[in-house]
């Protein structure tokens, strides 16, 4: 689960990670009250959406820049009106963009130098890894590719926690000394505690900055959480912003379906994540384009299949459907009955290819054949994929 920058910074403050003073506003009426909490002077106005590249983004009304510097609070007040309620398109949002529902005002900090700091899971060692770089404010992937020597990684032993020597190594790698070193050490320690205690999947501060006064601040904040651990963090779960999620994905999650929209025209309905991914792949392999990832899970009840069909058909680009079920333990006949009922209930007009395999498959195929529905049966995944690709071509 992702949260907004202003929410992440509130979390940082709770853990003693210094951030520039800021206040969020959700309506024009709240602009003045939010700004009243900040001192007079240079102010940043920041669009709050769950996507990177905001500063270089463009609003669909033509206004450029989702993050703006303003010389004073009056200018910030006027600027915020250009962003709130508008749709911001960035390199990460896709062409549809995201509607800005919250604007965040912060004190514009004096920047001496920008750095990069992040904590995430290192899969190879099964440990948290702290990543730091002297190259801040730019894409870290670019730094990793072009100047890997400018990136330092510290893996934390979960049995001991972040050790003092590791903090010293990070500070040295960033080239910080004196008051800056002391402040950065405290920030790194507190950020690690924040990561660990909240079951974060990733915390990223880009840039982390030093100021002429010797302060070290998180100028930006990107935090995501491990969905599996949300059950023990109700205060974090409450930060979820459904406006940032695809309504079809939200609907799917109500039925324990795992759905992700893609931009093709062949929808698929599959049991199992690996099989669902490779069903998308095989559609592409035979010249089609998948419209979605959809895993109905191991159980796949009739209700789930009906819900899945409705969600798939909510995508106007869909021109055909491929159902691929390997019913290992599940009775294929029960699934076949679910498909027949679902197709009748939604009044399906599009081509449908069904590949069923596994337990009691003959009865399942007989049910499909006797249903009178105009569906096509596929024997193997390859056969089924080729058939649906032909039917939508």
């Amino acid at each position: 689960m992702n949260i907004h920058e202003y929410q992440a910074k509130a979390l940082f403050e709770k853990y003693g990670v210094p951030v520039p003073r800021g206040a969020a506003a959700r309506s024009q009426a709240e602009f003045a009250t939010a700004l009243a909490q900040l001192p007079e002077g240079p102010t940043m106005v920041k669009s709050q959406i769950h996507a990177g590249g905001r500063g270089k983004g463009t609003f669909t009304n033509g206004f450029k820049g989702g993050v703006k510097f303003c010389a004073d609070k009056a200018a910030a007040l006027a600027m915020a009106g250009n962003m709130l309620g508008q749709t911001l398109v960035t390199a990460q949002t896709g062409p549809a963009g995201r509607r800005v529902q919250t604007v965040y005002f912060t004190v514009a900090s004096d920047i001496k130098k920008e750095y990069y700091l992040a904590i995430l899971l290192d899969r190879a060692s099964s440990r948290p890894v702290i990543v730091a770089s002297t190259e801040g404010g730019v894409e870290i992937e670019k730094v990793a590719h072009e100047t890997p020597e400018k990136i330092t990684k510290v893996r934390v032993d979960p049995a001991y926690g972040l050790a003092d020597f590791q903090v010293r190594d990070l500070i040295a790698a960033l080239g910080l000394t004196g008051a800056e070193a002391k402040n950065a050490a405290k920030l790194i320690r507190n950020l690690y505690t924040c990561f660990w205690e909240t079951d974060a999947a990733m915390v990223e501060v880009n840039p982390l900055i030093t100021t002429p006064a010797g302060e070290v601040l998180a100028l930006d904040a990107k935090v995501s959480f491990d969905d599996n651990a949300l059950f023990r963090h109700p205060e974090i779960t409450a930060l979820r912003d459904l406006n940032e999620e695809d309504p079809k994905e939200i609907e799917a999650s109500k039925y324990s379906l795992s759905y992700i929209a893609l931009d093709g025209n062949i929808a698929c309905l599959v049991n199992g994540a690996g099989l669902a991914m490779s069903t998308m792949d095989i559609i592409k392999h035979f010249g089609g384009t998948p419209a979605n990832f959809l895993d109905v899970g191991g159980g796949a009840s009739k209700d789930q299949v009906v819900a899945a069909f409705k969600i798939i058909l909510g995508d106007p680009n869909v021109k055909g459907i491929l159902v691929n079920i390997f019913g290992g333990i599940m009775d294929c006949n029960v699934i076949a009955q679910g498909i027949v009922e679902a197709v009748r209930e939604v009044g399906l007009k599009l081509p449908l290819v069904v590949r069923l395999e596994g337990n009691n498959v003959e009865a399942g195929k007989a049910t499909l054949a006797a249903s009178g529905l105009t569906l096509v049966s596929g024997d193997t995944m390859a056969d089924a994929a080729q058939k649906i690709v032909r039917l939508v071509a």
């Binding site: 099964s126 059950f231 994540a273 991914m277």
Partner: protein, 307 residues
């Protein structure tokens, strides 16, 4: 011969009285697996009954292992308590703990994995279908089935299968069995980013097992486990290996069902892993329908018989 488990392996089920655990305990008993004990704290002294089987239930893993000689545990405990259940199996010095549970917090698994260092227990999973060593009875009955895989699709033989995905494993096994090619052992290592046994661990075991003549390795986007295994195969494996990677069409940064199936960089895409498979002499299946055939091609090229 097989790896990790044989038809005589004695297993216990943690979470035997839950709906999920009970259902698959019945299926394992039907398959002929030696399920000798169940563990549910607070229900010690009761029995799990199914068609003439009477499996004793214990309050703790240590007690169950002592009383019955069980050496392997299958864990069906719900996610908030599953990390603790794994540690209990480790503390009882079992040979193998197989965590079927999906949805264990990553932080719990980080701590569990650290706590397992230096201990004798091997962990398979979590978020996995488990293992099957097929038996010689009808529908491969009489084998050892740990977890949730359909037993009847197997056939005893000489191909080892290792995979992060349950249904793709069944797909591969079904193709093999349909062609009359049996399996030594099939191992589902699970779809989580922090897991116990890796592709490489299993491939080393298959390579050392004289009864395994060929290997199918199934992976997906995210992480570098398949790459690590492929590089080892190039240097050390003398057996034909076929591979498949799911997720060629997955968008970057999205979790594709499995917690670990997410593209993090240009190095963990399907295309990158497939390229390394090819470099390492692994016969790549063009589609999931091609997995068994890919292994047959690789075996034929080396003059090795699989059935």
């Amino acid at each position: 011969m097989a790896i990790l488990i044989t038809p005589t392996t004695k297993i216990l089920i943690q979470g035997i009285t839950g709906e999920f655990g009970a259902r698959h305990t019945r299926l394992s008993l039907d398959y002929g697996t030696q399920v000798v004990a169940g563990v549910t704290p607070g229900k010690g002294g009761q029995h799990f009954e199914h068609q003439g089987h009477r499996v004793p239930i214990f309050n703790s893993v240590a007690e169950a292992a002592r009383a019955t000689g069980a050496t392997v545990s299958a864990i069906f405990v719900p996610p908030p308590f599953a990390g603790d259940a794994i540690l209990e199996a480790v503390d009882a010095d079992l040979d193998l703990a197989v965590a079927i549970t999906e949805g264990i917090p990553i932080r719990d698994m980080i701590r569990v994995k650290r706590a397992m260092q230096g201990r004798r227990t091997r962990l398979v999973g979590p978020n996995c279908p488990g293992l099957v060593t097929p038996g010689t009875g009808p529908g491969s009955k009489g084998g050892c089935r740990i977890g949730i895989a359909p037993g009847y699709i197997h056939r005893p033989g000489h191909v080892g299968v290792v995979s992060r995905s349950g249904t793709l494993t069944y797909e591969a096994v079904f193709q093999l069995t349909s062609k009359g090619i049996g399996q030594s052992t099939c191992v589902g290592i699970g779809g989580d980013p922090v897991n116990g046994t890796s592709h490489l661990d299993v491939i080393k075991l298959f390579n050392a097992d004289p009864e395994t003549h060929g290997i199918i390795m199934i992976g997906e986007i995210g992480g570098s486990a398949e790459v690590e295994a492929a590089r080892w195969v190039r240097e050390h494996c003398r057996k034909p290996v076929a591979g498949f990677i799911a997720g060629a069409t997955a968008p970057a940064g999205r979790r594709m069902g499995h917690a670990g199936a997410v593209i993090g960089s240009h190095e963990d895409t399907a295309a990158a892993k497939i390229a390394i498979f090819r470099e390492c002499g692994i016969e790549v299946a063009a589609t999931p329908s091609d997995m068994a055939d890919a292994l047959l091609r690789s075996a034929a090229a080396r003059g090795i018989k699989l059935s």
